[in-house]
């Protein structure tokens, strides 16, 4: 086993990319992702990482360079946030259609306007439909571990899809946490070399990116959707193998104190640890409260989620993004939609909080629980969503 160090999570992520022996890094700087790319460029400049570091002139070009390099069979990495993701949006939808296994770390940051450099999930929620494999990490150790996982899953020939690893900007990227590094031997065991399903090469000329007439487009989309759904098996195996190697087993849906819980919080990303503290306090007060942490976002983990909320009467869904004039925050609207077809669907309150870096404390989560209890007791029709903590 490797050493355990106190290190800024961005740097640890960059070190993990180095250990994965990436071939091409193409990225454009944007707060709060900058430390990741800066460290990668240092590693290349010092000869510690043998890769082409391509300092592109925009994020749109970053994702485009990644498409080109992935298409020739190079292990490819990029990272961005917020406006950068928005700028590369067009290409983000194209990469999975072309089945290019690009690995991207998204340092979650709010979308403008107004301009904000601070953390929330509006960026990742704006690309729910893009077709990438998407998952969330909660702390530095998870971030490090999941770089290896990302390359392994994306490049698996049965998958061959790009993968988006979410880590909260500033909250994770800029904090120092204790992280146990893997040793290079373990990386080698876990992560095979990249052998692309299709490769651009003069010896075997292929055409990539042909255009789709109406008569074929639906079939192309069916194939792509199936590929994403089928990736789940590879994802589960990759997590199991990781556990066997490093002792940390990750699941699509993590649960905390759900035994006998009547009310559960649903959280994603780093707020999960604070929510857990609130759950502890509420349990100490005798309330049957638990927590479900949704780690795998796409493909959505239907079975695991259904299992985790079995018997639950009330869900408090934390959303860190807003959908104006819609039926709820993005996560709540998906959860409600999924559970609608289930027996004994729990009632669901939806709190939009922590927008653009506003702190959400244990007391805040307790208050959300209070509010939920009131609404249930008073048989008040639950509002579609509540923007929590706004000053009137």
């Amino acid at each position: 086993m490797g050493e355990r160090v106190g290190i800024e999570v961005s740097l640890a992520a960059a070190e993990a990319v180095k250990m994965a022996n990436v071939d091409v890094v193409a990225a454009y700087p944007i707060t709060p992702q900058t430390h990741i790319v800066e460290h990668l460029s240092e590693l290349v400049a010092d000869g510690e990482l043998d890769a082409e570091f391509i300092p592109v002139e925009s994020e749109h070009s970053a994702m485009s360079v990644c498409c080109g390099s992935s298409a020739v069979g190079a292990r490819t990495f990029t990272c961005t946030s917020s406006q950068g993701l928005a700028l590369m949006n067009e290409i983000v939808f194209i990469a999975p259609a072309m089945r290019l296994p690009i690995v991207m770390i998204l340092a979650n940051r709010s979308l403008s306007g107004p301009l904000s450099i601070w953390n929330d999930h509006t960026d990742v929620m704006s690309v729910r439909d893009c077709g990438w494999i998407q998952f969330f990490t909660e702390n530095g150790q998870e971030a490090f571990d999941h770089v290896m996982f990302s390359f392994r899953v994306a490049e698996d020939p049965a998958v061959s899809l790009p993968i988006m690893m979410n880590m909260d900007g500033f909250v994770l990227t800029h904090v120092i946490e204790p992280i146990e590094f893997w040793d290079q031997e373990t990386v080698k065991q876990y992560l095979p070399d990249f052998e692309p399903v299709n490769r651009l090469h003069p010896d075997n000329p292929v055409t990539m990116g042909a255009f789709g007439l109406p008569g074929i487009f639906t079939e192309a989309k069916m194939a792509q959707d199936q590929a994403l759904l089928n990736s789940k098996a590879v994802i589960l195996e990759a997590w199991k193998d990781m556990g066997d190697l490093v002792g940390r087993y990750y699941k699509p849906v993590e649960t905390y104190h759900v035994e006998g819980a009547e009310t559960v919080f649903l959280s994603m990303g780093s707020v999960g640890e604070t929510v857990s503290l609130a759950v502890d306090q509420l349990r100490a007060q005798g309330k049957p409260v638990g927590q479900v942490k949704l780690r795998l976002w796409r493909p959505f983990p239907f079975e695991e989620f259904r299992e985790a909320v079995r018997g639950v009467k009330q869900m408090i869904v934390i959303d860190r993004a807003i959908t104006y004039g819609g039926v709820g925050g993005p996560v709540a609207s998906e959860i409600r939609s999924f559970l609608y077809l289930e027996e004994n669907m729990p009632t669901i309150t939806n709190f939009l909080c922590g927008l653009a870096g506003r702190d959400v404390t244990v007391e805040d989560y307790m208050a959300m629980f209070e509010k939920t209890e009131q609404m249930v007791k008073g048989k008040v029709r639950q509002e579609d969503y509540i923007i929590y903590g706004v000053r009137e």
Binding site: S61, C67, G73, A74, L200
Partner: protein, 307 residues
């Protein structure tokens, strides 16, 4: 005039790397230019293409006219995709995962994809110094979407978004000089070419492919459909563009200019403008304006070539 051995065609390779059965219009000189570039480069090439006429006519799923590796991602990012193809291959060769075959990395796009929406990614790729060749097929408008103007549309040309009307004489701005923009990036090789001069074009492509670093070739590609000329006149009109000085054929190697097809005495621009439907609304005053500018710019080019 071009040193023209009438039998020179027989020296060109018979292989077609761009297959027949493509869906370009009758008389498309852009398709001809693609054919000639493909012949010049051969099999050992990876092509990154923009969205546009040439992409659409050659890649309707599940078919392709390409016999060399080819990738299309989007409209404005050809140079970025080509940068990734080049960078990825470079890394794989250096790390011993691929043998070095000296593959040429080609980026291709139309005038819209190059001078407008794709200018940023092209500039970025030039600045980073990638070892690639970018070929712009300039048919002087967004032809694939229905003949809308681009910054490469010449002054006075009628397009669907710069129509000639009571108040406006067609395109009111002058054609963006992409050759000069490329030269300003200090790349080792820049050239203009036209499919009416196939041997000049092929020589330039071969030369550019041997260059280490970024190279740029701007090919005037006559579009009978958009320019409103009969299809059989596509080559003839392209020749007139060169003979009137409207589109001089030159190359710039490390900043040194050389006119490759010399025209000792320019024909009047009216010879070039008159046969084209897109210019039929031009008044004599507008033609004079165009003539003045063409003459001035040609003399400036000649001056640079004698430095």
């Amino acid at each position: 005039m071009e040193r023209f051995n009438v039998y020179a065609s027989r020296l060109i390779t018979k292989k077609e790397y761009f297959s027949p059965g493509h869906r370009a219009c009758q008389g498309c000189a852009e398709a001809l230019a693609v054919r000639l570039v493909a012949k010049a480069l051969g099999q050992n090439v990876i092509v990154s293409s923009a969205t546009g006429c040439m992409e659409i006519v050659s890649s309707p799923l599940p078919f392709t006219n390409w016999r060399v590796p080819w990738i299309h991602v989007a409209f404005e990012n050809t140079s970025a995709v080509a940068s990734g193809v080049e960078g990825g291959t470079k890394a794989l060769i250096r790390k011993g995962k691929l043998p070095d075959k000296g593959t040429v990395f080609l980026g291709m796009g139309g005038d819209g994809a190059t001078t407008d929406i794709g200018l940023q990614s092209l500039s970025g790729a030039f600045e980073r110094g990638h070892n690639f060749l970018y070929v712009c097929y300039d048919n002087e408008a967004y032809m694939n979407t229905g003949i809308q103007r681009s910054s490469s549309t010449p002054f006075g040309a009628a397009t669907t978004t710069s129509p000639a009307g009571k108040l406006k004489p067609g395109q009111v701005t002058w054609k963006k000089n992409m050759g000069e923009i490329a030269v300003a990036h200090n790349i080792p090789y820049v050239a203009t070419a036209c499919s009416s001069y196939p041997f000049d074009l092929i020589e330039k492509v071969k030369k550019a492919a041997r260059i280490h670093g970024p190279a740029y070739i701007h090919i005037l590609s006559v579009c009978p459909t958009g320019w409103r000329v009969p299809p059989n006149k596509a080559i003839w009109i392209g020749r007139l563009a060169v003979e009137t000085g409207v589109f001089p054929l030159y190359e710039v190697e490390n900043g040194k200019y050389r006119i490759t097809v010399d025209v000792p005495e320019l024909k009047p621009v009216l010879d070039y403008l008159k046969p084209q439907g897109r210019f039929r609304h031009l008044t004599p005053e507008l033609v004079d304006q165009i003539q003045e500018r063409v003459t001035r710019e040609y003399n400036q080019l000649k001056a640079k070539a004698t430095l």
